[in-house]
Subunit: 120 residues, 2 copies
DNA sequence: CTGAATCCCGAGAGATACTG
DNA sequence: CAGTATCTCTCGGGATTCAG
């Protein structure tokens, strides 16, 4: 558990946490894990995302090697995004958190209710 | 993979992600997993945390049932924080991310370097 | 010692308009 | 269709001060 004993901007665990802390990034990876999708398709499927945020998110995911960008030279140009093998391993890992969430969230909410009632 | 197909503030996975997105929360849980610690001990061990953030973090962790708060009526009062069994299961889950990070971060960085060089 | 309350500030998100 | 550019503004974090 050494990684937790000190905060460091270079801590690899921290970097991954920051990555999946990004709401849009996780949603994009999840959608792409079902197959390639084009930009505006993603935009429509992810409710509430702005062009700017989607663009930023995709760019950084591509930079990290988690997503592949393929521009098809049609007129007008179409761009297809797909998940990489590396990205897929991350999705699988995040799935562990999903399991935890589904298993333990009821308990967390019970605790929250207890806590809130104790205040009132 | 249903949970990823739409953004919802009530998505349990999202709630957990938001929780561990909190830098201080993860560090606190990591430290407490080694045994109970008092407030100012935590403050000293976590470099760069402010009183405000530590206080907020501990309060919300207690609310979620991840951390237990025990006030000892000395003068002045001392407060001892410890991790709960529930909190321990979360730490173990986050450990999966640590493994991923240590395994795949070199690959991510290689991708980033490639990407950045391609621009220059 | 363990917090709560207040003020202050900058990073980051949204909206809008424009381009290849 | 797939972005970029700019502008604004909010919200969350830091510093400081006060309290039990």
């Amino acid at each position: 558990m050494q990684s937790f004993n000190a905060y460091s901007a270079n801590c690899p665990t921290r970097l991954v946490l920051d990555r999946i802390a990004d709401k849009w990034a996780v949603l994009v990876l999840g959608l792409l894990s079902n197959g390639p999708v084009r930009f505006n398709q993603l935009r429509r499927q992810i409710d509430g995302v702005s062009q700017k945020m989607l663009s930023q998110t995709l760019k950084s995911l591509e930079r990290d090697g988690l997503v592949h960008r393929k521009a098809i030279p049609t007129v007008p140009v179409t761009v297809e995004y797909s998940i990489t093998p590396l990205g897929r391993t991350l999705v699988e890992t995040v799935d562990g958190l999903r399991i935890w969430a589904e298993t333990h969230m009821p308990e967390v909410q019970k605790s929250q209710n207890r806590y809130d009632r104790a205040l009132a």
